[in-house]
């Protein structure tokens, strides 16, 4: 289970509204390589991990991804709070505004609503950990694209933090994969 801590993982304080940037960043909320997909992927896969290290790493990275989902939602919220309909429309958010006003809703940058089809939980430990490694690289690449699209340092700074976390998670998943491969190479595993 989880308890809520009334704080973010990393500070976010965006003083200037920018619905154009919100339209891009929302992809890391509900898009194909976003934080919702990441958390659901790892928290679902953890149930069938074979070692104490791999169970822990999936559980704990899955949990951190929920904190990242909150950070991305916070960025979208602060970038669009109080922005009137005509400005939302000029930023390409007229369609979004029609269905969601200034709410935060899990959707990709191109407007596709979140779907569990973005993730897999295969039951095959090697297949799942290799997917997790790829997922971290795809998320890293998305954050790099977002950093290139952003100009406000209040926006770039938390995006850089989130990018860096993808690199760390990739490293930890690599260690988990190596451990499982060594175990499977030994006679005890069948």
């Amino acid at each position: 289970m989880w308890y809520y801590d009334k704080k973010l993982e990393y500070p976010i304080n965006i003083k200037k509204c920018d619905p154009r940037m919100a339209k891009f960043i929302i992809s890391q909320y509900g898009g194909p390589d976003g934080e919702l997909a990441a958390s659901l992927r790892y928290l679902s896969q953890r149930f069938h991990m074979p070692t104490k290290e791999t169970r822990a790493i999936l559980n704990d990275i899955g949990t951190e991804e929920l904190a990242h989902l909150e950070m991305v939602g916070t960025m979208v919220h602060q970038l669009t709070k109080g922005v009137p309909a005509d400005i939302m429309e000029k930023a390409g958010l007229g369609d979004f505004y029609t269905d969601h006003d200034n709410a935060v809703y899990p959707i990709s940058a191109s407007g596709v609503p979140f779907t569990a089809a973005y993730i897999q939980s295969k039951g095959d430990v090697i297949a799942d950990l290799v997917e997790d490694l790829a997922a971290e690289q795809k998320a890293r690449a998305t954050y790099e694209n977002l950093i290139r699209l952003a100009d406000d340092p209040d926006v770039k700074d938390p995006l850089r933090f989130l990018r860096e976390r993808e690199v760390v998670h990739f490293q930890r998943f690599g260690e988990a994969l190596r451990q499982v491969q060594e175990l499977m190479g030994s006679k005890k595993y069948y």
Binding site: Y3, D5, K6, N13, H169
Partner: protein, 83 residues
Amino acid sequence: MDERQKLMEQIMAYDFCMIDLGLFLDTHPADANALNDFRTCYMESEKLRKQFEEKYGPINQRFLPNPRCWQWIDDPWPWAREA
């Protein structure tokens, strides 16, 4: 940045270190340096959390509430822009 936010960001820094060290320890459970760093961060964070919660109210619902008022619902929530 006000005093409350300054203290909160110190807590956030120690708690983040614990998240990162926690992941490292998941795959290196016997690393003495990481364990020692984790212990230091835990103790610093606990100290600052106590200070914060005495002054500004609960960070977590696992907090002995004031018998007359449920402070948990008080603003600010983390997603709010700083005043």
